[in-house]
Amino acid sequence: MENNGKGLSIAGLVLGIVAIVLAWFTMINIIALIAAIIGLVCAVKGKQAATAAGAPTGLATAGLVLSIIGLVLAAIGFLSCTLCIVCVGGTAGLMGL
């Protein structure tokens, strides 16, 4: 079977879309972050395979772009939570809790 990276590219595209959607929900940012990372890896590998096979790379590029957008949105949400926890932890520490 010819490996032109189509499966990986589709996986990257789908995971990128999932990451963008989930990134808007505060408590499940971590899932969006994981989806974006896996999507990014799939899209990159898919693009490399497509380039090597001489196949079109449009699908992989779309997956790559969507995964990057998902990653940025998920990282912003995830790191916002991190700061919040640091500050709450700090306050609790100062209060001796």
Partner: protein, 271 residues
């Protein structure tokens, strides 16, 4: 200072925005640096993902280590806690991030990614890693300043924190802007390493130079920090102990591995 702001009705942390901006700038700088060595954008992106995963895992893990007494208290008195309280303690203990944990984790992730690379290419990649770390940290510290964490001691000069809704007890006090000082130090380290990289000097050793310079700055700046949530051991903070360790590793790698220390010992022996 300005821990949060609203975009399209969604509350966004300024620390998060600064960190993500830092990541984006790092990817662009790394791509620019790698272009001369024919390293593709996708490769750089993949490496950054590995660094990012290591950074998040390492940063949170070391933050947990600085909260060992609370975790130990949880473990030894587990029956006294409700499930919700226990989860709350675990989230509080592992929720934050420590830079050195992120650095070590990022380094581990990067090492995992470049393990199959060989020769000059591997040295170039490690040098790119060494250059972008202080650049990212510059943005991170600006984010800390905006977010109101990692603040400095009370002082007669500096900035007044006046709008920190997350930690209201730190408001209204003039504090040393230690985050901005550290950001400036990091930017200077970045420039220094970037110039060395561009001039093709000290190839493959830039990480050890970073490990020599940054820990010294961090060790000194830790004395001017006012936040109480860092772990302490024998009068020094966790970060100061790690600084000492990293400095020694950097010194060993630069002197011993390059043969300079061996030369000195050899000369002494022959004398």
């Amino acid at each position: 200072m300005f821990p949060y702001f609203e975009i399209f009705g969604k509350t966004v942390g300024s620390y998060a925005m600064a960190s993500v901006a830092g990541m984006a700038v790092c990817v662009l700088v790394a791509c620019r640096m790698g272009r001369s060595y024919k390293i593709a954008f996708e490769d750089i992106l993949l490496k950054m993902v590995y660094i990012g995963i290591g950074l998040i895992v390492g940063g949170h893990a070391l933050y947990g280590v600085t909260h060992l007494p609370r975790l130990w208290e949880l473990l030894t008195h587990l029956p006294d806690y409700t499930f919700k309280d226990a989860i709350s303690v675990v989230v509080t203990c592992f929720g934050g991030m420590v830079f050195y944990g992120g650095f070590l984790g990022g380094m581990a992730g990067f090492a995992l990614n470049v393990r199959k690379e060989q020769g000059e290419q591997k040295r170039v990649l490690w040098d790119i890693f060494a250059v972008v770390i202080p650049l990212f940290h510059t943005f991170g510290r600006i984010g800390c300043f905006l977010g109101g964490c990692c603040y400095g001691k009370e002082s007669s000069w500096g900035f007044i924190v006046y709008n920190n809704t997350l930690q209201p007890e730190i408001n209204g006090v003039v504090r040393i802007p230690v985050q901005l000082i550290e950001a400036a130090c990091n930017f200077c380290i970045f420039l220094f390493l970037f110039i060395l990289f561009k001039k093709n000097m000290q190839r493959g050793k830039l990480l050890f130079y970073y490990m020599l310079i940054y820990p010294v700055a961090r060790f000194i700046l830790e004395f001017f920090r006012g936040d109480a949530i860092r772990g302490f051991l024998w009068g020094l903070s966790t970060s100061q102990w790690i600084s000492i360790l990293l400095f020694l590793v950097g010194l060993y790698q630069l002197l011993w591995k390059s043969g300079k220390a061996q030369d000195v010992f050899r000369i002494k022996k022959t004398e």
